[in-house]
Structure formats: structure tokens, C-alpha cells
């Protein structure tokens, strides 16, 4: 018989036998599975981002079905408030009270032409590599390097580069924190999206040094702290915002935003 035909028959036959075996086995060995797993899986975003701490949405669904607790219900970070609500409803547990939208915030708003160069970097064009070589060639040791590691790592297309600076789209950001881990300068963190105000600088250099390096850096003048002492506090030459203080949409921060001399307190 023709060798070509024979090999097709043999390999096809093998494949068919295995397929039939698997189909039979799948039916015969069907393990009893919690029917809620499928329902949970349908609610989850399905991005397998891993922000919940287990490997993928399927693993999270199994974990949740096995140990129904309201802590786990809010475990899906990237799903946001709606997913947590649906999960709580499905599992019959109380709605977690601290469920509000969080987003990633970039704590450096120095555009590419505002950064002072220390040297010209011409290595591998990632922030990770640039940061290894004498801190990436910028005068500011804390600021954004602009090689877009965070953009590449974002599974939701929520970060765009504009004038060398990552800009987070609040509608798309799910606060999965992959960008937080990707940034070698640690200028991205996850903040509650209630106040809509951030300090757009990470420089812990003294005011004089920061002023020399960057026109939009925090110079630790403490004006914000004087104006709104319950929310702003300058620690290590950098203004910090206490997001735990009550208050919606950041109206109480207006004074500080307007008075900040370098305009590094910004509204999102």
C-alpha cells in the first residue's frame, strides 16, 4: 500500500482512538465539581492577571467555592466593585464595606522635556535596564524614566505614554498592580479613586535639589500641609496624602492644589 496513505491511516487512527478514549474517560471519570465554580468563572473578568494571589481566574474560582468568605469575595482586585458585588450576591455573603474603586497612580508628572539629563542612556530601552545603569541618566533619582515598562505589562491597555509619561485611564484601570511591580523606580502605586487627587512627584531629595532638577517636583515647602493639615503631610521631603480621611471627590483639597507652587499636587 502507498506509504503516504498508510501513515495517514495509522496516525489518524491513533488520533481517533485517543480522542475516543479521552471522550469516554471524560464522561466516565467525571469528577463531581462544585457547580458554583462555573458561575463564579462567568462573573470573573477572565484576564488571569494574578492580582488575587492565585494562578488565574479558574484557581480563584475554585478557592472561592471551597471556602466561601467575604474576604475572598473581595479578592478579585481587577474585577472592581461590580464583580465583588456579583460574587457576594452569588455566594450569599454580606457586601464588603470597603469596596470602592481603586486605580494605579503615577507619582511623577515631569514630561520628557522637563527632565534634566545627567547622561545619555543608549542601552536596552526598558526602565528596568536603564535604572540599573547609574539610575537611568536623569538628574532626578526618583522620577519616571519613560521607557514604558508599565505600558507593556498592563493587560488592560489602561496606560498610554504621553510626552514620555505614562497616563492611566481610570475607566480601564482595574488596580491589578502589575505596573506597580514593573516600575523599577516605584513611582506607581494603587490609590482609592475617591479623592481624585495625587501628589505627582516621588522625589525625596531636599527642596533645593528638587527645584534644580525639575520644574514640577515637590520641594517640600509644606504649604499644602498648612492649608489642609488633616489630609496632607510632608514626610522625607515629599508631600503625602492620607486617603483614609473621609471626604469625596477631593473638594477639600482644592486649596492645596491651587496653592502648590510647583503644581505637583494634581487632580486626576
Amino acid at each position: 500500500m502507498d506509504i503516504l496513505l498508510l501513515s495517514v491511516i495509522v496516525l489518524g487512527g491513533l488520533g481517533f482512538i485517543f480522542a475516543a478514549l479521552l471522550a469516554l474517560a471524560a464522561d466516565y471519570f467525571r469528577a463531581a465539581e462544585d457547580p458554583r465554580i462555573v458561575k463564579i468563572l462567568a462573573i470573573l473578568p477572565g484576564t488571569n492577571c494574578g492580582a488575587c494571589g492565585v494562578a488565574g481566574c479558574r484557581a480563584f474560582a475554585e478557592k472561592l467555592a471551597a471556602a466561601a468568605g467575604d474576604v475572598l469575595v473581595s479578592g478579585c482586585v481587577s474585577g472592581g466593585v461590580t464583580v465583588v458585588q456579583k460574587l457576594a450576591e452569588l455566594m450569599g455573603v454580606a457586601q464588603p464595606t470597603d469596596a470602592h474603586k481603586k486605580i494605579a497612580a503615577v507619582h511623577c508628572w515631569a514630561k520628557v522635556d522637563q527632565r534634566q539629563a545627567l547622561a545619555r542612556y543608549s542601552g536596552v530601552m526598558t526602565c528596568q535596564s536603564a535604572n540599573l545603569v547609574a539610575g537611568g541618566g536623569l538628574m532626578c533619582r526618583y522620577g519616571c524614566l519613560g521607557y514604558a515598562d508599565c505600558v507593556l505589562v498592563c493587560p488592560f491597555d489602561a496606560i498610554k505614554m504621553e510626552q514620555g509619561l505614562p497616563v492611566v485611564d481610570p475607566d480601564r484601570c482595574t488596580s491589578c498592580a502589575l505596573c506597580v511591580a514593573a516600575c523599577p523606580r516605584q513611582i506607581i502605586d494603587i490609590i482609592p479613586f475617591t479623592k481624585r487627587v495625587i501628589v505627582a512627584c516621588s522625589s525625596r531629595d531636599s527642596g533645593a535639589v528638587t527645584r534644580k532638577n525639575c520644574p514640577v517636583g515637590c520641594i517640600a515647602c509644606k504649604i499644602c500641609e498648612k492649608e489642609v493639615p488633616e489630609i496632607f503631610k510632608v514626610i522625607d521631603n515629599l508631600a503625602r496624602i492620607n486617603y483614609n480621611k473621609p471626604g469625596e471627590s477631593g473638594t477639600e483639597c482644592e486649596v492645596a492644589i491651587n496653592k502648590c507652587p510647583t503644581k505637583c499636587i494634581v487632580k486626576l
Binding site: L11, L14, L21
Partner: protein
């Protein structure tokens, strides 16, 4: 005596990881903790033995009679993939404890080159069925031995004061090289 020789030659003298340098991705990937190394070892022993048995049968009773030896790569890959799926289904239903213990490693070794290599080598060496079984058992236990030893070393290395530039994979590669050198010392053992 011959089976004894096959077993120890596969286990030590031709150790699949440290002498033949196969399956190195899992050697570095899952050896950071002893638990994961042991889990992977169990899965490899299990899958390697069964898959080489089935592929031996397929080669000698299906491919050989039709003179289709050249199809062995394709058919072995097919066999191993289907077999691992079957084993997974079976374990999930029948022995859930073992299934949980092996966890992700069982589907992972579908694509492990050592599994395919053993199926090939058992045929290239012209082993009979029993010898092929003993051989694949020896190889898989050799794999377990090497990866568990390596995991012990890496757990110690994680706490050792290693220069920053050698931390992580660099020191792991150096360690693996030294272990490989040590395993070369088994050459000539048992007069093999």
C-alpha cells in the same frame, strides 16, 4: 544483573538532568522549593514510566509492522499528550489526594522533553519491554534524585550571603554545573 546495570546506568551514570542535560527548564523552574521539586518528581516518575510503556507498545506493534518508524516523533507526542490527559482525568476521580499533590505539574510535563527522550532512547537502545520499563524507571528516579538534591541546595542558597550579581539564576547555574561535574564521577561505576 543486566536489568540492574540498565537501572543504575540510567539513574546515575547517564543521569538525564546532570549528564544528558535534558529537561533543564523544569530543573531550574521548579527547584526553588523542595515541595515543588518532590511534586514534580512524583509526576515525572508516574508519567515517564507509563508513557514509555505505551509508546514502546505503539512502536513495536503498530509502527514497526507497517514500516512507519519515521512517524515515531508525531505518534509519541500524540501518545504522551493523550496519556497525560487520561491520567489526569483518572487521578482526579480516583485518587484526588495524589491529584492535588501533583497539581499543575502533571499537565506541565506533557511538554517535558525528557519524557519524549526516554521513549526514543528505549527504542534506540533496542530494549525489550521489561528492560524499557526498568530503564524509564531508572531515568525518572534519576531525575527525581537530581532535582530534589538541587532543590535542597537552592533552599540553602536562598539564605546564603551571595554577591548581588550572582543571586538567583547565576548561582543556580554554577551549582548545577558543579553537581554535573560531581555526577561525572559515577562514570565507570559497576564496570559500565
Amino acid at each position: 544483573m543486566e536489568l540492574f546495570g540498565i537501572f543504575f546506568s540510567a539513574l546515575l551514570i547517564n543521569n538525564i538532568l546532570l549528564i544528558r542535560f535534558l529537561a533543564l527548564c523544569s530543573f531550574f523552574g521548579v527547584s526553588t522549593k523542595i515541595d515543588t521539586a518532590v511534586g514534580m518528581s512524583f509526576a515525572v516518575v508516574f508519567v515517564m514510566t507509563i508513557s514509555s510503556a505505551v509508546s514502546w507498545i505503539i512502536y513495536h506493534f503498530i509502527l514497526s509492522p507497517f514500516h512507519l518508524e519515521f512517524l515515531r516523533t508525531a505518534s509519541f507526542i500524540l501518545t504522551i499528550a493523550a496519556l497525560v490527559q487520561l491520567e489526569e482525568l483518572y487521578l482526579r476521580k480516583m485518587i484526588p489526594a495524589l491529584y492535588r499533590a501533583m497539581g499543575i505539574y502533571l499537565p506541565l510535563i506533557t511538554t517535558n522533553c525528557a519524557i519524549l527522550a526516554v521513549a526514543f532512547l528505549a527504542i534506540d537502545y533496542r530494549f525489550g519491554f521489561l528492560s524499557a520499563m526498568v530503564y524509564s524507571l531508572g531515568v525518572s528516579i534519576g531525575y527525581s534524585l537530581a532535582i530534589v538534591l538541587f532543590a535542597y541546595v537552592r533552599e540553602r542558597l536562598a539564605l546564603a550571603p551571595i554577591p548581588k550579581w550572582f543571586q538567583g539564576y547565576p548561582i543556580a547555574f554554577i551549582t548545577a554545573a558543579l553537581m554535573s561535574l560531581a555526577f561525572l564521577g559515577f562514570t565507570g561505576m559497576f564496570g559500565l
